[in-house]
Symmetry: C2
Subunit: 201 residues, 2 copies
């Protein structure tokens, strides 16, 4: 059977992205699918396109998310050791670094993106700090000087903008989102429905 990759759209600063990544990679492996990692920015999709305020500043929802995030990690059996309190981080360094790595070697870039998410959410390593993010890129064979320069490179900034626009164009608005055979699923809590969809395919 030909591989029909599952698109995985995520923002590095979304606490739900890492459980989503772990879950979708398990499901994909069970069904002989690959996972196509796609960076996006919630600031673009949710705030700019949808016109909504930041989640953590929304009454009721902010408090819910503070309680819900540790729970979803426990539910998935994933270590929860967030790098920063209250999810306040900038996504630009890791997202641009990922775009740059992807333009060189998508396979190693995905391996690095996985390590970036794990570092930030399970190992307490702040990947908005360029030194931390670059160290992970270097571990996957990318050049240190080029990795340091990438987040400030206008061409790399364009790559991320294009990726965000492409995500929004396919209907993606939240992180994580998954596209399975053309069908959009939003949220790490939709993994059981994705399993059901894959079983039918």
């Amino acid at each position: 059977m030909a591989d029909h990759p599952i698109a995985f759209h995520f923002d590095f600063i979304s606490p739900y992205a890492w459980p989503g990544a772990v879950g979708i990679e398990k499901l994909a492996a069970m069904h002989g699918r690959s996972v196509d990692w796609q960076p996006m920015l919630l600031g673009v999709s949710v705030m700019k396109t949808m016109g909504l305020p930041p989640l953590m500043e929304t009454p009721l929802k902010g408090d819910y998310i503070r309680m819900d995030v540790p729970r979803i990690y426990r539910f998935h059996g994933i270590d929860y050791r967030p790098a920063v309190p209250d999810f306040v981080t900038s996504p630009f360094v890791p997202a641009r670094l990922f775009c740059w790595m992807r333009s060189i070697d998508p396979v190693r870039a995905t391996d690095a993106a996985r390590d970036l998410l794990r570092a930030h959410w399970s190992e307490g390593i702040d990947i908005s700090d360029k030194a931390n993010a670059v160290a992970i890129a270097v571990r996957h064979g990318f050049g240190e000087a080029d990795a340091r320069a990438a987040p400030d490179d206008p061409a790399v900034k364009e790559m991320l903008k294009d990726a965000c626009n492409q995500s929004v164009a396919t209907g993606v608005f939240g992180s994580p989102s998954f596209i399975v055979d053309g069908e959009l699923f939003w949220g790490a809590d939709r993994l059981p429905q994705i399993a059901w969809k894959l079983d039918q395919a």
Copy 2:
């Protein structure tokens, strides 16, 4: 073991409420729990308290929901035959009727609420139409003249306002929401996490 009821907060006009009801009643029965049905209004929690626009008018999200709702019914194996197109209904008749029935007999009121949700979402019967809603109340032994008068009774309107305020006060913002042993879960897609929580209890 003493019963610790699961609170089920729902808006009759939420398309996710009916799959949530079916799912939580199954889980509750498996774990020897009862379900405490609590009416709420998304107009109060989401729009007034959270300051967000109506879901169906939010770019990207509206289109997602139009596709997602039929899918979640298929996923749960529940008939999907909505009474009105695009989820545009008024919640006041069924929600006030439920509050009134609850003040008389909570058990029969819950049976009627279940039938109201089923009628609206699986049987194509518009429960914002008072004649349809009252017919269901009558089927559960409530008096027809009183049922007809209830949605316009200021005291019943107050009951619904109090229920909405109580929902918001407990942190509920979406429909359906579930409170299990003091812990809030939002969304019909959280049923697997509720099962996990109940297994631990």
